[in-house]
Amino acid sequence: MKALRAARMERCIGCHSCSLACSRQVHHFLSWNRAGIRIASAGGLSTGFEAKVCLACHPAPCAEACPSGALVQRRDGGVMQKKSLCVRCGLCAEACPVDAIYLDSENNPYVCIHCGQCVAFCPHNCLEMADLSPREKDGEADHD
């Protein structure tokens, strides 16, 4: 199983092409929030950019916090989303350690599903789809 990795963010130019692509293609929406990946400056533009994107945790704190079964653990890391089950409590977003889940104004969660559609739109090759390593499969991922 593969996961999206923001592997080379030091190359990022802050163009938002990735988040706009996700918004467009995965969510059929135009927004830089409603997307699995969001780009923020790390504190003003002179500090470079960071990607707010799912780390594909295993076990996934967001899934553990979800009371309705809307977010379920993916086999090798990260979560699958069953939108119809979501009760919009927002607990998943609260539980995510890296602010990877965006809640829209109605509390609908948006999280990366590791489909990789954004990768082709990054002009600086900051993003990649990586095989989840066995260590991560064992659920001992160290994401530092």
Binding site: I13, G14, C15, H16, S17, L20, S23, R24, Q25, H28, F29, L30, S31, W32, N33, R34, R38, I39, A40, S41, G43, G44, L45, S46, G48, K52, S105, F121, P123, H124
Partner: protein, 584 residues
């Protein structure tokens, strides 16, 4: 959001009232430049000066903003403190997408706040905050504070001014998201006159996209074209700074206040040298994969014993020309240090550089004395120029008060008009010849971006007034169409009018088909009409003597040709500004 009207937020700083206004006219004016002109007709005052509190400051985006790559700029329009007539300026950063996602086609700010104020707008309304404590803060520091005051890192745009805007220099800029600017014609001055220190635009909404395959397919096609063509490589590679060497080779590089048009030392500040020696990284406007923003670094020892600090300073061709070549500063780090001070003070870097170049020559020739300049300006002396920038921004005497209003205004008062490098405003960096001088000198916003006169000069040595002016008028009409979209002009080779029509169709703005060209012409006329109604007379525009003393690759400037172009272009502008048949 696709709709056939414009959704405009109008904020009155005097009363604090905000309302949403709906305006018709999408089919006739499209957006951006056209929308801004339309809004100025509605909210502006022909009979009151630029600093009347009721004059509007307008920010407008286009129908495709955010929907396609490089549809990433905002048009800012206002009555300019520089000439007290209608003008506009363009910038990107995150401003355009923030407006799009705040569900606004335009923001109109009127009135004057009683105290220094910051305005935050979003889809949920506005927030006005007293920021009197920020008086005198530089533009970068102001950005830092505003980022803390308003939420939303990564999905908001922060516009602000420095001391120059507060002090009403006629060429104060609006800094947008640290590295972009509404640079020319004094947008920052208008904010200063309104007591408006900063504007935060929260792009906190979004829109469902059209169903079907046409839009994503077209998006992909355009994205591929824009990320693979050679044309764009120029902008993200070395960047526009690549122009230094070729212009130097063509004897078209303004040097030492245009005392020369080429210099061996120019190589030291070429785009290639900047890239090799001081380029730190690239950045992009939101929605643009090209990444043309070049950020250099300056490392400075501030104390003995190896105590260093560093700064990041954006550069481009124009800043290098105006603060490098014009001042004969030939070390990239020194150029960046001057630019850094200009950035903080919040001045237009082209105007500031050219003003200092003129002051240096005026001092050299004894037209003014140190009693006026207070500083011993000398070619290449970056340290003194840095202090000069601060004096323009915070004028201590009459000389600097005048210089802050424009080089030609200062020269009219103290002498030295012959060598003031002013073409409507302090010139852009193309000493290419007669067509460019007339194009910038008389053009709508006195910008090299009004039309490609510089390119015409570089390719044509025949002297055909009609052909040259046909080109200028037709090329500016085409650029106006892109400016109505408000697309980045770097992409104009890809976004032909056919492709723009197709792109509009794919998102649901149907029926533009062949009308884009007519819209361009309509907006061209409307803009001229506005300016002329505010007093513009292109026949009165003078091309300073310095421009007639130059030599380019074509040889000495031909003053007869220059004069013929000038007279005929003025006549054509006036005919474009004539009331549309049956309209008045």
């Amino acid at each position: 959001m696709i709709r056939d009207f414009f959704r405009v937020m109008v904020v009155d700083l005097s009363s604090g009232a905000t309302r949403i206004a709906e305006h018709t006219g999408r089919a006739e004016f499209l957006g951006g430049s056209g929308l801004a002109a339309l809004l100025f007709e509605t909210y502006g005052h022909m009979d009151r000066s630029w600093d009347d509190p009721d004059q509007p400051l307008i920010f407008a985006i286009g129908p495709l903003t955010g929907y396609y790559p490089l549809m990433s700029k905002t048009c800012c329009a206002f009555r300019s403190p520089y000439h007290d007539e209608y003008t506009e300026s363009y910038a990107g950063g995150k401003s355009a997408l923030s407006l799009r996602f705040a569900d606004l086609d335009a923001l109109v700010v009127t009135g004057r706040a009683p105290r220094l104020t910051a305005l935050c707008v979003g889809s949920g309304g506005t927030d006005l905050r007293d920021v009197e404590f920020l008086r005198g803060f530089d533009a970068l520091q102001t950005g830092r504070v505003l980022r803390k005051m308003f939420p939303g890192a990564g999905r908001r745009s922060i516009l602000r001014i420095g001391p120059a805007g507060e002090n009403l220099s006629a060429y104060a800029c609006i800094n947008v998201d640290t590295f972009r600017h509404f640079g020319r014609m004094g947008g920052g001055t208008v904010m200063g006159a309104k007591n408006l220190k900063g504007i935060c635009i929260l792009g906190d909404q979004g829109f469902p996209l059209p169903e079907g395959k046409a839009y994503p397919k077209l998006y992909r096609r355009i994205f591929e074209q824009l990320t693979t063509t050679e044309m764009m490589a120029k902008y993200h590679g070395v960047g526009t700074a690549i122009n230094i060497n070729p212009l130097n080779g063509l004897k078209s590089l303004p040097w030492r206040n245009l005392q020369a048009t080429a210099a061996p030392a120019a190589e030291a500040i070429s785009g290639e040298r900047f890239a090799d020696d001081v380029l730190l990284r690239n950045a992009a406007c939101a929605g643009c994969p090209v990444g043309c923003i070049h950020i250099g670094f300056v490392r400075e020892r501030f104390q003995a014993n190896n105590q260093y600090l560093y700064r990041q300073v954006g550069y481009d061709y124009e800043p290098i020309y105006s603060c490098g070549g014009m001042l004969e500063v030939t070390d990239p780090s020194q150029v960046l240090r001057i630019l850094d001070v200009i950035e903080k003070e919040g001045l237009d870097c082209m105007s500031a550089g050219v003003a200092l170049a003129w002051a240096t020559e005026a001092l050299e020739k004894g037209v003014v004395s140190k009693g006026e300049t207070l500083l011993d300006f000398a070619w290449g002396d970056a340290e003194t120029y840095m202090r000069g920038v601060e004096l323009i921004s915070r004028p201590p005497n009459e000389f600097y008060r005048q210089l802050a209003q424009g080089t030609l205004k200062c020269a009219a008062r103290f002498g030295g008009e012959d060598f003031a490098c002013v073409l409507g405003q302090e010139m852009a960096g193309y000493a290419t010849g007669e067509v460019f001088f007339v194009s910038e000198g008389l053009g709508f916003r006195h910008s090299h971006l009004d039309a490609g006169g510089y390119a015409w000069d570089q390719k044509h040595d025949e002297k055909d007034v009609d052909k040259a002016l046909e080109f200028l008028i037709e090329d500016s009409r085409k650029r106006i169409v892109v400016n109505c979209m408000v697309g980045c002009l770097f992409s104009r080779g890809v976004y032909t009018e056919d492709l723009l029509a197709e792109a509009l169709d794919a998102v649901g703005h149907t029926g533009f088909g062949s009308s884009l060209s007519a819209i361009g012409e309509r907006v061209q006329r409307l803009r001229w009409r506005l300016r002329v109604r505010m007093g513009y007379d292109p026949r009165q525009v003078k091309i300073p003597k310095r421009y007639t003393e130059l030599t380019t690759w074509k040889g000495p400037i031909d003053t007869d040709y220059l004069e013929a172009l000038r007279t005929e272009y003025a006549a054509r502008i006036l005919s474009m500004a004539a009331p549309a048949p049956g309209s008045e």
